[in-house]
Subunit: 474 residues, 2 copies
């Protein structure tokens, strides 16, 4: 741990213990330099880190103060109660209907699944790609086909090393985004009619994949902050012949929940004992606001039962469609499915991402991106508290770019979505996040997309529309 | 038709009618200018066109002469007799084993499915892509996601217009190569257990797709020059509950067969009457050696039963993975499957191909490519006749880059493939082109790949190995 990280952590500990309270002034830089024996820049970096995570706030000419936690824990959404029993999945119509509206240019895309592309080094990627492609020998075009560019696979494997995860370059299949990786993994470990355990609420892409492959879903209770409940999972495994799990243990979509390390470990041990593959959808973990990257469940996998899927779409290169699967003992099957379905990933995209990883200061870009998203989250949470009806509960994830809102029960989210769309604002209604469409007064809100100036008027409008729905209801 | 095309056609007619015979000298340029009232360059262009198609040959300081047809029709492979009845498909192991060897750099890739990437304007594509990507606004990255860049879809639709085919930009879904298009189309019109009619022999990618989706195959008799026999198809439709056909009516892989226009029309009418979708794999039709592009079966489709799939992988941009489906009445289903499986195609690749279509003189590139491939075919056919055992039959397709060889019955193609590989030459053995692996003394030979200097020694070696197999056999 670096010095500034240690300092930041110490201050966080004091906040957590109540030693420092909301509104308290932090020691000045001069004081900290004296008391800790560190350089001024170390103190600045520590305070900046704390600010980016919303723990403190700067007041001009006054210094740094402990921030008001916007959401006392009591106001976060409740633990979900899963629907018991198996479900056929048929959400595709609804999902596509809702998402079709998101891409129009004049719509403020609070319902989008994508972060704002302006947050990414697109110009630098394009320049690097052009240069690298012109250097490529013709023969190399074929050598970049499935399972993917050898050096890119090695670079991806290197990023696993820092999390203590066993994943060799040979295990990695480059795919068309994480979406293809997840779909190939799911197909590799199931047959039509099989049962798959999912979160509640779950990412709609997971529901769509189950529907396409004619699989049945069984839900596992999922905490809005702590994610999948391992005990609940154990009970589900006893009750049903589960052939696979599809979970997002880190910054879950839509809630932002993250399982604690020990819970991830316990989950992997449970699944390994029962020989149930875990498809780990891990596309947001680079967007953490805390001290370090949360470990993937894969890092606790010693026998290859975790199929880890991720991509660069949310961290570096949206639209380049570079994802991958590190599919453990199922790697060969995944590679074969890839060959016989889409054959290979576009060579220019592979070359562009590789070039950036080698020359582009990926980690520096990520630090900036995390800071921006953390600051936007603070702002969004504040605006939700200000403009949405009282009684609205909201998660406050430690990474990613989604908030999950639980509105008062009489606000139908689908109706809210339609009204908002008529005002050129999109929302992702809770309905699309479960097979039985039961998250009816819930909304996923993307704070990584709109420009800061758009956010307040948009949330004000949504608050007004929600109030209108409530009064019409009475 | 341009003047030089008219002149070339007239000469071809004279050759076909026997007025001009092999070895006859064509009129000199001066004579033709006088007799036809055209410019010298028109005559040169006509002779060059005829030469590129192997109809005539230039002899230094002597002029142009009618070429010897290498393969009298009697020496082409025989009409295939389909296996009757339904078949489970399980070829994947064999196919992947065989194809795994093709990509090594020191292997002369006569077994490859890809044309030589050096035949393509890769540098120009890369430069155009780099420039276009840097001009792209961040927001446009998202607008290029499924179903694809709007202007690219329009450009693709424009190319249909010239073949009299009804396909609007709205119908077109951009995919990761033709392979994904074909797979999505197949999934859109079938359920596991359904019966699909295929050619015999068939492209192994078709067999792999059937296997992956757990479909059953029924074969239709296929002529090595004329393709699917419509009467045989009618009989198969009567006998089996066929849910879809997957055919390559133009330059079929592996045989190179092309159905006549009337046969394509009759086939589409038959399938339309019986409401059976046709998945038309049409990736080679731009590589024609004749006067004009063969019409796709889709051009005879008035009710949307043809799902036409193609790509730029074989005509412009290998490794960019830009293909598409124009799926007629099934277009919406295909788009939905795309969204829930791989989401979207890489934006840089889309932008690169679009930029080339708009600025890159695609048709000029194609003319050069066709001429090169036609000349290489002539050479390859000659070398096959020279070096392979007598009794070897060979197709002489009017486009593409494959020859289909029927060796004497006692030459096992899998054994030949293994021996050749030990000499660093790859071959595609006939075994991988049918569910029952019965094309055992057949070989698909890619003449679009090796450098011309490699071709003769490679075929000499293969001839020697084939002879060795025959003598060991006795």
């Amino acid at each position: 741990m670096k010095k500034y990280e240690r300092l930041a952590q110490d201050i966080e500990t004091m906040i957590a213990a109540g030693t420092l309270r909301a509104g308290d002034r932090l020691p000045s830089v001069r004081e900290s330099v004296a008391s800790r024996g560190v350089s001024p820049s170390t103190v600045f970096e520590a305070y900046y880190l704390l600010e980016s995570r919303g723990a403190v706030e700067a007041r001009p000419r006054a210094g740094y103060f402990v921030a008001q936690r916007i959401t006392p824990r009591g106001q976060e959404p409740l633990l979900t109660q899963p629907t018991s029993g198996l479900r056929e999945v048929a959400v595709n119509d609804l999902v596509l209907g809702v998402l079709g509206s998101v891409r129009q240019r004049d719509v403020i895309p609070l319902g989008s699944a994508f972060p704002n592309p302006a947050l990414f080094p697109l110009d630098r990627l394009a320049r690097g790609m052009g240069a690298a492609m012109r250097k490529l020998q013709a023969q190399e075009v074929l050598e970049n086909l499935s399972p993917g560019n050898q050096e890119l696979r090695r670079q991806i494997a290197l990023r696993y090393v820092s999390t203590g995860t066993l994943a060799s370059a040979e295990e990695i299949v480059v795919t068309s985004g994480a979406m293809e990786a997840l779909n190939l993994c799911l197909q590799a470990v199931t047959r039509p009619g099989d049962v798959v355990a999912i979160e509640a609420p779950a990412f709609y892409g997971c529901l769509q994949a189950l529907e396409r492959l004619q699989l049945k879903a069984v839900e596992v209770a999922t905490h809005p902050r702590h994610g999948v409940q391992v005990e609940a999972l154990a009970a589900v495994l006893q009750q049903h012949d589960v052939k696979a799990c599809w979970f997002m243990p880190t910054f879950q979509n839509p809630m932002g929940a993250s399982m604690a390390q020990e819970q991830k470990k316990a989950m992997v041990e449970l699944l390994t004992r029962q020989r149930v593959p875990l498809i780990e959808d891990d596309v947001y973990s680079e967007l953490y606001f805390g001290m370090r990257r949360p470990l993937p469940a894969k890092s606790f996998d010693r026998e290859g039962w975790v199929l880890h899927c991720s991509s660069f779409s949310k961290s570096l290169a949206p639209g380049y469609r570079i994802g991958w699967a590190a599919a453990g003992r199922f790697a060969a099957q995944v590679e074969r499915l890839k060959l016989s379905s889409t054959l290979s990933v576009a060579v220019p995209s592979q070359v562009a991402v590789l070039h950036f990883l080698q020359h582009g200061a990926f980690d520096k870009h990520l630090r900036g991106l995390r800071g921006t998203l953390a600051a936007q989250q603070q702002k969004a949470v504040r605006l939700v508290a200000k403009h949405l009806p009282s009684g609205t509960r909201v998660t406050q994830p430690e990474g990613g770019y989604f908030l999950w809102l639980e509105l008062p029960e009489d606000v139908d989210a689908l109706q809210l979505h339609r009204l908002a769309l008529s005002q050129n604002i999109s929302l992702a209604p809770g309905h699309i996040f479960s097979a039985d469409q039961r998250f009816r007064h819930h909304v996923r809100l993307n704070y990584g997309h709109p420009s800061p100036e758009q956010l307040e008027p948009a949330l004000r409008t949504i608050g007004r529309l929600a109030a209108r729905i409530r009064s019409a209801d009475r």
